[in-house]
Symmetry: C2
Subunit: 753 residues, 2 copies
């Protein structure tokens, strides 16, 4: 991309004493020109290079998109500073009130939508099952099969078409993208209205169609979408133009609200308010404040109240086939648990097995997802065909397998409950003669939630034979592997939840489990199982979400820097990058335009030489602000510094917060191109800086804990002939994978070490 | 303190364009000379000044002590860098293994000690009660009174003497100091062996003596002490000199372990593993990593297993009067709760009342504590007398009051359980005739835990009359206010725990409540009550712990910067301070000695001018490292830069980690004083820096989230005549109170605003 730059674009920072970068590619933030993006479509993994270059491309909904970081930093420029100072107490109160109201609304809506989704799923799949069982009871086995498969086919078709046509990003669980968002990565088209609607309908259809997936992941995504839409006052053209909402037109408040949304989603999925908060905490640990803890907690409390309200309403039978179900509460609260020392050994064993199985699961899923990516790249029809193929396969399996197991005679102790011919009940008669039940049908012909509840229900010991349970478990794991990557909203389902070996989230899983079972006595053992499984799993491969993040190419910053990062300085890193493009504080319009057109950088250092021998790193100006200035044509005839009020008269801080302006259609006259722009009012004069000798390890910790987008590198020595800036680092530059590409010897060292 | 400085102590940084500091006092970190510390003893509050000065003095255990910050930053100097690089894989594994082992040990020991404390309290106070009730039954009322008061007097005497003589810092709950520690403030003599022992014995005596205090706070402190001692391999002379432990000889790992200890303490106090983790989280939110979350969780899981083990053992009656008690588990898990919309109003009302009462409680407690501080300042005897006076007053109240209420006839439905003449049981006969019970005696003559359990026990509705409950509640609140500040280990007890209006910790309290009651259905309402109470309370005054932190003068950094901090730059702040003392990279021994002797600063900027016109901020050197160099007499005859191996030959990174070296007894010959010291190998070349134009608000966020001790301020302009350093800021300089002292107009502005 070096050839795109015209020479003399302002000051060029050089690192004294360090070798120059070879300038093969542009590794600053987000190149706007997509030239090199297309070829990478051929590769299943998005990032492969030998120099410190970074692809800003990610597989978002099976499409390649440009991704950006969030502007989480407090921007201290003249205009924003004036905005704070002029905020009255009333406005501050409005802001606080709105913050809590939005948190409440997020909880409320998430709760309502989750309840409606549950209701829809229970009723649709209930109706389907009832009629299918009816056909089987009449021995019309083929009719039953075609009815069952056809019904599932139509549902899957709806879900997949919606996903493929309207919102490709709504496929999958959405949790990796939320994880990335909370880490500071702004995945495009992820949290909009189409995603929300497709996710809701698609999730209902996909779960009802008997596909082996959960509604848990999608619910988390739904919560996040709701939060995002609320913070913007709606979507696109239908946006509410409420004055108060302008306070939320920044990445900082939006991210806080999306944290609330994600927690609410987890809470709605498992009816686990504390688990929801902890989930956000385990994922968001990058940047956390106590105030956010309370607000998140408030949202999840609202969700729980809404869910309870729905259950109260439905208890009277007013919700069709939706009984008390749809929300998993295992019935083990009356189990009294006593431990012996020997149990600890057993628990350790279970943990180890869980860890190994989880790691294996991740490994196989990784391979399946890579294969699916290749298929999905072939186009929309391929995606659709894949989804439908999986649906047919699943339907056939679910229908045929119960015929393969023998019937079990009812234990008289169960009384009239056995066999059950209706939709619900623990003992499905299915194809069996009177007085007997089919235990595999009981497990397979129920929603996941019901199946799980059946397995764990106390009071019915010996209900399921061991081989049926093993078949069920095996089917679910295998089907789950092949279902996860298809183009419908999907979440990994419960058997995996119990395996912290796959997800590696110990604390929140543990609390969710506690809140699901409502039995405190199981807690210590659960804690140990989960911790051991996580540790064992970590020894093999990363968590499933990290694998997906990696597959999609989302630049997630790990919490812990790699050991070899201590041996590399940020100065060396900057030297491996192409030269930094800086602007002068009062810059020619033509130069600004050229820089904007020819680079995709999102932040430009602004430097100045007030008088000979004196240099100044004035700060950092954002692309969006430069675009706003050009669009407003706020130009100066001569090269001079403006007064503060001049910019204030023309620009409001609200206008500057708009990030969606483009310059493609901007046409400037030759006279205007010869004029000047004063960048003083727009420059963030206090960007975070580090000295060039700082180790990358230390810089990564800073970058992550303060949630930065750009980090400026200052020279170690200061003198008249030395530029005040060595370089600029972004999230991409600090990722281990990208650094190892440019410094392969570090990889070797870290292995032999 | 300006006059202590000899002129020409190296480079003096000046801020161009900003007014100079008036140099009235020294506001860098930790002045070593205590000259001005004594006079502040007269004032109840420790910090009162008009310029940007900061007292590094805090009331630690009713004594004034010098406090320091923790060195949490990664120090990148030659020696430490070499140490990382030379660490083998085996050593890394040793380190990880040790980290988890220590977390396990902390949990194990905290669990065992907590169980033993419970056992001791239940048995001692049980024996006391049995004999007292026996005397009352024989109508020997005066004998009963003297026996009861005398027993309590002796117990209080033991606790108070231990506290006053051996470990004044063991008085009180210890939680504010832990909160401060996790915020980065190293309170001296807080986590040592004397504190641990006094806390254990004192806590047993104080709770057994019937004083109105809880063992919860002390248990948290005990966990933290254990963690600290384990990380150091023991205390003082008896320290274990295990090679592996050298990895833990740094503030970073020690702080992590103390986090585990504090969580374990909370968990042991309430048998609430998740609550313990969240407590640490709500308090420690400054700096948090997922890895720490798991380790903390591991510790609390261990505690719970130990506690359960003890309960299993004691269930057989092998623990004397210790039954299943001592650990609060309210018996409400079989309560089915259904909400109506009207309940929300009631809940809101309860929350508001809780908030108002909590705020009132904080206000009164604040006044009582200030009064007690005045008394305690009079000396040891005064402290002892105060403690004993409170004890006598409490004993009299507890003994006499039950006589004032009428007896209640037993409901036949309760059967043989009423009246109870032994120690335990819900219906104490006390002074009543056969077939009747004294409900107030039932409440007052039990340990706090038993009393609470009695109140909340289901199955005995109507056991307590409303007036008895109100008397009980009033007595407890009033006694609690007067007991809290005396010189025994004490914690705020349960009525307050339920009032998040006082402590303002919503999430962890909520989870603790959940784990205490083992009833998930109560959770949403609890969440709302706690949130409302917190919000209402916050409108009146800060939390009780913050009030205590403030009284003690501990420099706690608030998570949220004040709004007016946006209007002040760090450059202006630095200008209000005395001039910064810098050292040259190769400095004369006499200068280094002078600087160390005449200032109490703990970090010194190191600057250099490699050649004319070129300046360099080389980094920051710590006092402890300078002391180590002087003590080792690593001097150079001529002014030259040494090679890296020269320092490595003489200094190990373990030696440098020792912070307790002093220079008072160091005697250098005149020849040595004329020699030079090369500071290159010891200087942290990558301290965190900010530009002088950064607002204090932004700087505070950085300071807190990266957990800094020193923050260097760089000049905005760079040129030959400009010093590479504007100043240095520490925790004290960034505290709102200290800043407002130096910039009173900001305070006015923030009020009128």
């Amino acid at each position: 991309m070096e050839e795109d730059q015209s020479p003399g674009l302002g000051l060029v920072a050089e690192t004294p004493g360090l070798k120059h970068g070879n300038g093969v590619s542009n590794s600053s933030e987000d190149p706007g020109s997509a030239g090199d993006g297309i070829s990478s479509l051929e590769k299943p993994l998005l990032k492969r290079s030998n120099t410190l270059t970074s692809s800003h491309l990610a597989m978002v909904g099976a499409k390649v998109s440009h991704i950006e970081s969030l502007d989480y930093e407090i921007i201290e420029n003249d205009l924003f500073k004036h905005d704070w100072r002029s905020r009255s107490n009333v406005e501050v109160l409005q802001y606080i009130f709105l913050k809590w109201s939005l948190a409440f609304l997020v909880g409320l809506l998430t709760g309502v939508i989750a309840s409606l989704i549950n209701l829809a799923i229970e009723n649709i799949s209930g109706l389907k099952m009832l009629h299918m069982v009816h056909l089987v009871r009449e021995k019309r086995y083929w009719a039953g099969f075609f009815y069952f498969s056809g019904f599932n086919f139509v549902l899957t078709f709806i879900a997949a078409v919606l996903c493929v046509v309207f919102a490709p990003t709504a496929a999958g669980p959405g949790i990796p993208e939320i994880k990335a968002y909370l880490n500071g990565v702004d995945t495009p088209n992820m949290f909009g209205a189409p995603q929300l609607i497709v996710k809701i309908i698609g999730s209902i259809c996909a779960v009802s169609s008997g596909l082996d997936l959960g509604k848990e992941g999608p619910l988390v995504h739904i919560g996040a979408c709701l939060a995002n839409l609320l913070s913007q006052g709606g979507s696109g053209r239908f946006r509410l133009r409420w004055r108060w909402l302008r306070y939320f037109n920044n990445d900082r408040d939006r991210r806080d609200l999306i944290t609330c949304g994600a927690s609410s989603g987890v809470c709605a999925a498992f009816r686990s308010p504390v688990g929801g908060v902890l989930f956000a905490l385990e994922e968001v640990a990058t940047w956390w404040r106590s105030a956010l803890l309370w607000r998140t907690f408030f949202s999840t409390a609202t969700v729980v109240v809404v869910l309870r309200g729905f259950i109260e309403v439905c208890r009277g039978g007013r919700c069709g086939l939706f009984g008390e179900g749809g929300l998993i509460i295992f019935d083990v609260s009356d189990v009294t648990v006593r431990y012996r020392l020997g149990d600890l050994l057993l628990v350790t064993l279970v943990g180890v097995i869980g860890g190994v199985l989880g790691a294996l699961y991740n490994h196989v899923l990784h391979m399946v997802l890579r294969l699916y990516n290749l298929i999905n790249d072939k186009g929309r029809m391929a995606k659709l065909a894949l989804a439908l193929a999986v649906c047919v396969f699943t339907s056939a399996g679910l229908y045929v397998l119960p015929f393969a197991v023998p019937c079990t005679p009812c234990d008289p102790a169960f009384g009239a409950a056995c066999p059950a011919t209706g939709r619900s009940g623990n003992f499905k008669q299915f194809n069996c003669p009177a007085g007997q039940y089919n235990d595999l049908a009981t497990l397979l012909h129920a929603t996941n939630v019901d199946a799980t509840r059946n397995i764990f229900s106390t009071g019915t010991p010996g209900e399921f034979r061991l081989d049926s349970l093993l078949i069920f478990f095996a089917i679910y794991c295998v089907l789950g592997l092949f279902t996860f990557g298809i183009a419908v909203p999907s979440g990994l389902f419960l058997p995996i939840i119990l395996m912290s070996g796959s997800m590696r989230m110990t604390v929140s899983l543990c609390v969710i489990f506690l809140e699901l079972t409502n039995n405190l006595l199981l807690l210590p053992m659960t804690m140990f199982v989960l911790l051991i499984a996580k540790t064992v799993g970590d020894a093999f491969n990363p968590s499933i979400y990290e694998i997906i993040l990696d597959l999609k190419g989302l630049p997630f910053l790990e919490p812990k820097p790699e050991p070899w990062m201590k041996d590399l300085t940020v100065g060396e890193l900057a030297a491996a990058k192409p030269r930094t493009i800086s602007l002068q504080v009062v810059e020619k319009v033509s130069t600004v335009l050229e820089v904007l057109q020819n680079t995709g950088h999102n932040g430009f250092p602004v430097v100045d030489r007030p008088r000979p021998g004196l240099s100044e790193l004035h700060g950092l100006v954002l692309r969006s602000h430069l675009v706003a200035v050009l669009r407003k044509r706020w130009f100066l005839a001569e090269k001079r510094r403006t007064e503060e009020w001049e910019a204030r008269e023309r620009f409001s801080s609200v206008e500057l917060a708009d990030k969606n302006c483009k310059i493609d259609d901007l046409e400037l006259t030759p006279e205007e191109l010869e004029m000047y722009v004063d960048l003083h009012p727009f420059t963030n004069t206090t960007p975070y800086t580090v000295v060039e000798t700082m180790s990358v390890a230390k810089a990564v910790v800073l970058f992550r804990s303060v949630a930065l987008r750009h980090m400026l590198i200052m020279p170690k020595y200061q003198g008249p002939e030395i530029s005040p800036l060595v370089g600029i680092l972004t999230r991409q530059d600090l990722r281990a994978h990208n650094i190892l590409g440019a410094f392969p010897h570090l990889a070797k060292k870290s292995k032999t070490h």
